[in-house]
Symmetry: C2
Subunit: 331 residues, 2 copies
C-alpha cells in the first residue's frame, strides 16, 4: 500500500511536508503542495485510518448500538442520525450485539448513541467514566459525559388510553412490555394513572414482551374470554400486529368491530393493516437527528440541554366508537 513515505520519496521532500500539503496547511508553498497532491493522486494514496486515528486521537466516527437489526423500527431513526452527523463531517457506524461493545472502550468512536437493552447502566457509566461521550435513548443516566433524548412515553400512553376511553367500551385490555425496559415502564405508569382516574371502566393487564408473538398470545387470551366489544392498548405496534394476526387466523372477531386496537410507535406494517392500526406516532427521524446533535455537542464540550421528543395520536379504523355510545353522546 502506498503511504506518505512513498509520496515523499517521489516528490523529493520530507514526509512532514507531504503531511502538511495533504492537510492543506498554509505553511507550504502553493506549487509544492500542488505537486504533492498530484503525486498522491497518481499513486492512489489514501491515508491509513488506524494510523491517523492513533495520532489524532479522534476518529470522526460515531457508533450507534441497536438491540437487533430487525423490526421496522430503526430505518428512519438511523437516517435521521446519519444525515445530521454527515452534515457535521462525522460518519455513522451501526452495531449490534454484545461482542461489539468492545469497540467503545477501544476508542473506535468519538461518541456513541445507545438504544440497546443489552447494555447495563453500569457498563455505560463505566465508559462515560473513561471519558467516552454517550447519548442514551432508552434510559435515564446521570453523568457529565452522558445525555439522554427521551420520548414522551407518558404523554403517548395517556393519549392512547384516553382515545380508547372516549369510545365508551366497558372493558379495556392493556398488553404490557418487558419489565426492565424503560419505555415499557414509562408507558405503563401513564396507563395506571389513567386507570386510576377512570373508575367506571374495567381494566385488564396482559403481560407482553414487545415482540409480535406475545401480542399473538394476548390475542388468544382476549378471544377466549370475549363477551362484548372491548378496547385493547398494546404498548407497541409490533404486539398489536401479532394480536391482529391471531384474531384473523383463529377467530371471527373483527378488529375495529369487536376488538378495538391501538398500538404505539406507528411502524410501517401497521399502516397496511386493514383496518388501519390506530397508534401513537413520533418522528423517528427527528429523534435520531436530535440524538446526533446532542452527541456532537457533548463531543465538542458544549453545554447540553436535555431534549424530549413529542408524540401524537394517529387514528385508524382499528378503533371505532361503540354505536350505542355514539347515539348517547353525539358530540
Amino acid at each position: 500500500m502506498t503511504s506518505i513515505k512513498d509520496i515523499a520519496k517521489k516528490a523529493g521532500v520530507s514526509i512532514s511536508t507531504v503531511s502538511y500539503a495533504l492537510n492543506g496547511s498554509e505553511r507550504i508553498m502553493k506549487e509544492t503542495a500542488e505537486r504533492i497532491l498530484a503525486i498522491a493522486d497518481e499513486l492512489g494514496y489514501v491515508p491509513h485510518g488506524a494510523a491517523r486515528r492513533l495520532k489524532k486521537r479522534e476518529s470522526m466516527l460515531v457508533g450507534i448500538y441497536l438491540t437487533n437489526y430487525g423490526g421496522h423500527f430503526y430505518g428512519s431513526l438511523l437516517q435521521g442520525v446519519k444525515d445530521e452527523l454527515n452534515r457535521r463531517g462525522y460518519d455513522l457506524i451501526v452495531c449490534s450485539g454484545m461482542r461489539s461493545h468492545r469497540l467503545i472502550p477501544e476508542r473506535t468512536f468519538d461518541g456513541t448513541i445507545v438504544l440497546d437493552s443489552e447494555f447495563t447502566d453500569e457498563e455505560l457509566l463505566d465508559y462515560a467514566e473513561r471519558g467516552h461521550k454517550l447519548v442514551v435513548l432508552d434510559r435515564e443516566l446521570a453523568h457529565p459525559h452522558i445525555n439522554q433524548v427521551l420520548l414522551d412515553n407518558k404523554a403517548g400512553a395517556s393519549l392512547a388510553m384516553e382515545h380508547l376511553l372516549e369510545q365508551g367500551y366497558e372493558r379495556i385490555y392493556v398488553v404490557g412490555g418487558p419489565e426492565d425496559a424503560y419505555d415499557a415502564r414509562q408507558r405503563l405508569r401513564a396507563v395506571r394513572q389513567v386507570m386510576d382516574r377512570s373508575p367506571g371502566t374495567e381494566f385488564r393487564m396482559i403481560p407482553g414482551s414487545f415482540q409480535k408473538k406475545s401480542g399473538y398470545a394476548a390475542g388468544k387470551t382476549i378471544a377466549d374470554e370475549y363477551d362484548r366489544p372491548s378496547g385493547v392498548f398494546c404498548l407497541n405496534d409490533e404486539m398489536a400486529i401479532g394480536l391482529y394476526e391471531y384474531l384473523e387466523e383463529h377467530t371471527s372477531l373483527q378488529v375495529g368491530e369487536h376488538v378495538h386496537l391501538i398500538g404505539f410507535d406507528n411502524i410501517e406494517p401497521g399502516r397496511y393493516m386493514r383496518p388501519k392500526l390506530a397508534t401513537i406516532d413520533y418522528s423517528l427521524t427527528k429523534w435520531g437527528a436530535v440524538a446526533a446533535e446532542q452527541l456532537l455537542k457533548l463531543i465538542d464540550g458544549e453545554p447540553l440541554e436535555p431534549e424530549r421528543v413529542y408524540v401524537r395520536l394517529v387514528e385508524g379504523g382499528s378503533v371505532r366508537p361503540l354505536p350505542d355510545k355514539k347515539q348517547e353522546q353525539p358530540n
Copy 2:
C-alpha cells in the same frame, strides 16, 4: 487513558512482557502473567483499537454497505451476516452513504460486503486492486479479491410469471425496476423469456423504481385502463404494496379479485396485507450467512466457490384463479 505502559510500570516489567502476557503467550512465566493480568484488570485496561490495528494490520472487522437503512429488507440479512461473523471472531459494522465509502480504502475493515447501488463497479474494482477483499451481492464482478453471492433472480421471476399465467388472465402487467440495478435486469430478462414463450397473453410493461411510490403510480396506470381481471407482477414487494395502496385509496378494484398481484422479496408488510401478497421468497438470513462465509474465505485466502441462493414461490390471496378458467381447466 491507561495504556500498556502504565501496567508495565506498576508491575515493574517491560512493556513487551506486558504485551506477551496480555496476549497469553507461552513465553512468560505463569505467575508473572497472572500478576500482570490482575493489574491490567485493576487499571481497567482495554487495548487501543487503532494502535493495535495499525500494528497488526488486521481489524477483525467486516463492513457491510446498504443503500439505505430503511425498508423492511435488511433486518434478517444483517442478522445472518452478523451471526456467521461472530462465530468466527469478527464483528460487523453497518454503513450507508457515499461519505463512508472512505472507510474501505482507509483499511478500517478486513473485508466488506456490498449491497449498495451507490458503488460503481470501477470503484469496487479499484478497492479490490488495492488488495481489499469484497463480497458483492448486487452485481457480477470478476476479480481475484471479489466473490459474489447472487440470488436466483431469474428463477424467481419465472416462478412469479408462471404463477400468474396459470390463473388464466388475458392481460399481465409487469412493473419494472431501476435500469441500472442488477437484480431488476435479471428479473426482467426472465420475464421477457416467459413472455416470448406465451404468445396467447397480452403483456404490458410499466416502468418502476423499486420504491413504493412507483408502485403507487403504476396502480393509477392500471386502474385507468381497467376493463377486465388482470395479473400484475411487481418486480419487488415494496412496489406491490404501493400499488395495493393506490387501488385501495382511489378505486373500488379489489386485489385478488380484479387485480391479481404478485411481488418479489417476501418482506414483512406483505404478510399483513389483506389479501396476503403472493411473492417470491428467499432466505435473507441464509443469504447473509453465505456472504459472510465467502468473505471469510476470501480473507483467509481460501479458494472460493461461487454461491447462489435459491428462491421459492409463496402463494397468497392476492393472486386467485379466474373463476371461468378454473372450470375450463379443473386440474
